[in-house]
Symmetry: C2
Amino acid sequence: MAVRKIAESTVRRLSLYLRFLEEFELQGASTVSSEALASRGGTTSAQVRKDLSFFGSFGKRGLGYQVGALKTQLREILGLGRRYRVVVVGAGKIGSALVQYGGFRARGFDLVAIYDKDPKKIGRQWDGLTVRDAALLDKELTEHQADIGAVVTPAEAAQGVADRLVASGITAILNFAPVQLQVPEHVTVKTVNLVLELEALSYVLANR
Amino acid sequence: MAVRKIAESTVRRLSLYLRFLEEFELQGASTVSSEALASRGGTTSAQVRKDLSFFGSFGKRGLGYQVGALKTQLREILGLGRRYRVVVVGAGKIGSALVQYGGFRARGFDLVAIYDKDPKKIGRQWDGLTVRDAALLDKELTEHQADIGAVVTPAEAAQGVADRLVASGITAILNFAPVQLQVPEHVTVKTVNLVLELEALSYVLANR
DNA sequence: GTTTGTGAAACGATTCACAGCT
DNA sequence: AGCTGTGAATCGTTTCACAAAC
């Protein structure tokens, strides 16, 4: 593993392939071709094969890929052979939506704590998790290290929260606040910015 | 306007530049250089100038760009000179989070209706919007056309909802369901798939 | 005959570098 | 002197096409 400099787009497609393999498995398929994976995901068979070839050769010529075996390989490549601890900062609408969505746990991501600084929210129960005082974030992260921090605060608070997460040793951040977080080199941020998505749709609508 | 084939990445950066210009304006700057915009957004000044150059020349050599004028130009380019009507299908956690987040309205996107097929949810009030029976979706879309449909249903229901949106004339879809929607050529879909984002973080964590 | 794995070719996006305007 | 606008060069990604494996 650990092949150098794989494009972000390749990694995203690998996740998709994994999803499709699960579907194929459910439908009882034991083998799958690059063409089958491609057409399911709106790409080309050459793209599928090239993506996989960065990590090894997992197929049999003339036959395709074993669904189960390829699934295992992709999970390995994506680092999904273990569970991840996720802390959520911000118990607003999106924070609570995140915590209450069960799909993450099923995929190996455990939401282990949710923090907010609003006294009216602290102590509330969200799907088995108690909203904790954001003032405790740093201390509790030191005691129970987490892998991923989800920033779900208003824009103004996001950078400060990110700084604290980073200071506590978090190196992977999922950011829902509509700002570009400034983080050190060794920290990875994925930002989900809904306004950006809507404006991209607006651009398409406006330009035919 | 309506220059052909602009890269998705360029459009996303234009949205970001617009955000930064609003910040600069707030700080009282009347003029801004490509370098200032770039450093604010983690890109390069050449990238900024190239992005803008696809649409015209908005700056003054030796001086930079007028903040207000460039803002207007970007809003024009992105099609933000009008308001958009957005219907939300699915009144679950994320649907409600969307509807209750005020930020969209402020940016020109009006959430005009929310639908669900669960009788327990129909009739509930969410931030001034009544959850409507999903069975009425097609009829009501015909009566009051919307511009964008947000699909916030469970995975199983998403494709069916998308089909109905498309049949009712919607050509832009924001998809939160963790599936790849199949839509005709003329329809644009932007998918927000949180599991994909988490797995991209997992990949980075696993590969140092 | 089918389908993979992969160099090579084609394409697309970013960066360079500088002429031209203010 | 300072900063834009943009061709040209570079870099990265996708597609082609075919030999090798089954």
